[in-house]
């Protein structure tokens, strides 16, 4: 019965999609505000990666909201799995020598790669969120390879809050100096170079650290809670 009603409902939704999408032909150029962003992106923000200038400069409030969503998710997970630390599961099988050694070698390299991604966010594809996810994967690797690995949750929580507060403080500085919240008030510099695009690399470093610490904290919370 439930399946039948669901299929009927989904049929209606599919019909609605079909009618709506037939008015938006695939591949047509319907850019509205995007044209403004592409044409004035480098001049107004200094970043050659237009997606970065949209994310961190033109629509920076969305990014603040997104960072807060991840913060809320991490908080909620911490609050629900409280108290988190149930001790080590001695029956867990020890990973092989190759995995352990490889994890030890790869750990700093992955961290370096993640940092490279978010530092170069305004020049190449990538940015704070992508870099942060890579950094968190380094910590996940450590959890998979070593049985007794545990993160220092307090330090990570401090990094997370500190970089989040730094994001809003930079925005408030923009309000004080430039007159608008999240204004890009530092000089734009020369395009294509590392130290360009004003406030954007600073914001992306903050976001990268925050997301890395947050996702690592989520991974730690789930790995360390043994249920049952």
């Amino acid at each position: 019965m439930r399946k039948f009603v669901s299929v009927i409902l989904l049929g209606f939704i599919a019909a609605g999609f079909f009618f709506a999408l037939s008015d938006i032909p695939f591949g047509d150029d319907r850019m509205g505000v995007a044209k403004y962003y592409i044409e004035n992106g480098i001049a107004q923000t200094g970043a050659v990666n237009i997606v970065t200038s949209v994310v961190v400069n033109y629509r920076a409030l969305d990014t603040l909201g997104e960072v807060t969503v991840l913060f809320v998710a991490s908080l909620g997970l911490g609050a629900l799995l409280y108290p988190g630390n149930r001790g080590v599961d001695e029956e867990k099988q020890r990973a092989s020598l190759i995995v352990r050694t490889g994890a030890r070698i790869l750990f700093p390299l992955i961290l370096l790669f993640g940092a490279y991604i978010f530092v170069h966010g305004h020049l190449t594809p990538g940015g704070g969120f992508q870099g942060g996810a890579v950094i968190a994967s380094a910590f996940l690797l450590q959890y998979l390879a070593h049985r007794h690995y545990q993160l220092d949750r307090r330090q990570f929580s401090l990094v997370e809050s500190g970089s989040g507060a730094a994001f809003v403080l930079v925005g408030l500085l923009g309000l004080a100096v430039g007159g608008y919240f999240l204004n890009n008030f530092i000089g734009k510099g020369v395009p294509y170079s590392l130290f360009s695009a004003g406030v954007i690399p600073i914001l992306y470093v903050a976001i990268g650290l925050k997301v890395g610490a947050e996702l690592a904290g989520i991974v730690a919370g789930l790995m360390e809670s043994r249920s049952g």
Binding site: S6, I13, F26, D29, I38, I50, V54, L77, L80
Partner: protein, 119 residues
């Protein structure tokens, strides 16, 4: 058939959305429902990016061999999808932690058996 092929991304996005909705509405195992939520979010993200595609365009990043601005795809849906993916990850993490606690409390993951709250 030609129309299906040329609108492949729309069809794919729509299929992901409908399959995700079906799983959420019909399946009774909570982990499957969470996978359904993830499929639904993925489908919506593909739809967002597909809406921004422009024929013959490439990634909106100026490189030293600078491209003319008319050859870019729309950068805004890419920014929107960045946000949407992160939000999806947040929802998923929270859902899994609630399910862990639910399993501790009830001992089962079957939605039909978790009916402690009566009418």
């Amino acid at each position: 058939m030609e129309a299906l092929y040329s609108n492949m991304y729309y069809v794919g996005a729509g299929a992901l959305i409908l399959v995700g909705l079906y799983i959420i509405l019909v399946k009774s195992n909570l982990i499957k429902v969470i996978i359904g939520i993830h499929l639904l979010d993925t489908g919506v993200n593909v739809l967002l990016v597909a809406v921004g595609y422009i024929k013959g365009g490439t990634a909106p990043i100026f490189t030293r061999t600078s491209l003319a601005p008319t050859q870019f795809v729309d950068p805004i849906p890419q920014a929107l999808v960045l946000t949407a993916i992160v939000i999806g990850v947040g929802v998923l993490a929270l859902a899994l932690s609630i399910v862990v606690k639910l399993y501790e409390n009830y001992g089962t993951l079957d939605v039909r058996k978790i009916k402690g709250l009566k009418w």
